[in-house]
Amino acid sequence: MTALSGEMLVAGKGTGTILRVDHALSFWGGVDPKTARITDPRHPRHNECLTGRVVALAELRGSSSSSAVLLELIHAKIAPAAILLRDTDAILALGALVAREMGYGDLAMLKMSRDDFALLVEGRHAHVEGPRVVLD
């Protein structure tokens, strides 16, 4: 078991297996808001589904509508269990902040250090609560 700690961007808790996304992803134009799958055929994780996963996202890119796609995933109850970022992304965080304001629920979003981010390997089980990430 490994316990890590990140910078809390949005408070929440969630448990799931890690989906590691190293290649830059835009939620808008990259993730289907109806299915939570990665739709960009040029993305290495094309067709992976984000629902219920602890998504480790190295880099976001592109559209400022990514917040809307994340809000829609939370509203439709097909969101990731938690999102762990390598860099703060205000656009994505906003989707989770608005979800909280609208009463749709809390999605945990943390910024991890580079060293800790490297420990987030595909398929590992993770429990996220507040600023803490526990890897089994």
């Binding site: 961007l9 949005v10 830059a24 835009s26 808008w28 134009g29 990259g30 808001p33 109806k34 739709t39 960009d40 055929p41 040029r42 880099e59 976001l60 890119r61 592109g62 559209s63 400022s64 509508s65 990514s66 917040s67 809307a68 796609v69 809000l71 829609e72 939370i74 509203h75 439709a76 703060t88 205000a90 656009i91 994505l92 965080a93 906003l94 989707g95 902040l97 608005v98 979800a99 304001e101 609208m102 749709y104």
Partner: protein, 414 residues
Amino acid sequence: MEVMDLSPDERRIAEGAEGPAKAMSMRLVAETGRLLGAPRLLTVASAHVDGCLYHGDSGTHFAERLAADRGRVAVPTTLNVGALDMLHPDRVKGDAHHREMAGRMMRAYEQLGCRPTWTCAPYQAGHRPALGTDVAWGESNAVAFCNSVLGARTNRYGDFLDIACALVGRAPDYGLHRKENRRATVIVDTSGLSPALRDADVFYPVLGTWLGAVIGSEIAAITGLPPGQNEDRLKALGAAAASAGAVGLFHVVGSTPEAPTLAAATQGGTARTIRLTPEMIRAARDRLSTASEGAIDCIALGSPHFSEGEMSELRRLAAGRRFRMPVYVCTRRDLVEKSDLSDLEDAGAVIVADTCVVVTPILPDTGGTLMTNSGKFAHYGPANLGYDVVYGSLADCVETAVEGRLLRAEALWR
């Protein structure tokens, strides 16, 4: 909220003194400021809102909540595209639910006092904040243009934060609002490319694609381009850069207002240099296409929305000939309302206003291959539409449409 230094007035608004819509907006602005490490909020002179595009019912509910709570924008605010073409109601397919919820969302934003511009090129529809002005803009191409070409100052405000900033007239004081964060840290030298390529419209989306993919959110000063580049080229460059990466600001030495000289762009600081080679640019060009042969089913133009100049160029290239496939031309409603486009429509152009072909269902859902001169359409077409894409110049697109088969000039790229 306690970690952010809100003024007494801002605190009062966040606590609900001016109603629940402003309170929620102030909380969103302040909370975002907190997580970005902004010490305070600053006042903004205008806003451009991208949140009015329907992605699902949650966005409609959010806008309707603000409208029901009697929210009203505090600063002049323009609207980016919606999911419906209200000038041509039959253009957008979509099921009844999609149309209903997209329309409700658009009306809610109008109720909030936003101007119904419905364009991703608000800067060509008269919304042009002055050099150095702080504003809060959303939509990646609009942000890149606003910062780079107008020299006004905005961060990349995501959907919902854009309208929140507009309602309270404030934005977090961080990032590109601060002059010291606007200096170029990387010099992109294009002088190793042929002069003909550097002076061709078709080069600019490719350069943008390279910039977005390689430079991302760093700030580049591009050197070696002919001075005084026109706005349509800079718009195409920025749109491609902001779709391929998180580019919010770039400088083109001799063309953009914060880069009269290289030293001005770097603010006298140090910057590393990347020399572009023809191979790098060919690779970026190849990235924009997912097909290189076979039948072309349609042409998609106008991302960002076509300007008057681009419309004239299309007319000149078409030269009265008929298109053998649909040529979708996405543009601003104010341009449609004040121009006579009937000659282009007679030739087979399908004019789309208020929205565009990659954000809402307009093309036949049969799939196929589309050709475009837009880096942004090329970037989003495959994922959003399930179409293959061929990138080419506007002239290539017109010749392909007229002849009914793929024609692409290769000489410039060799």
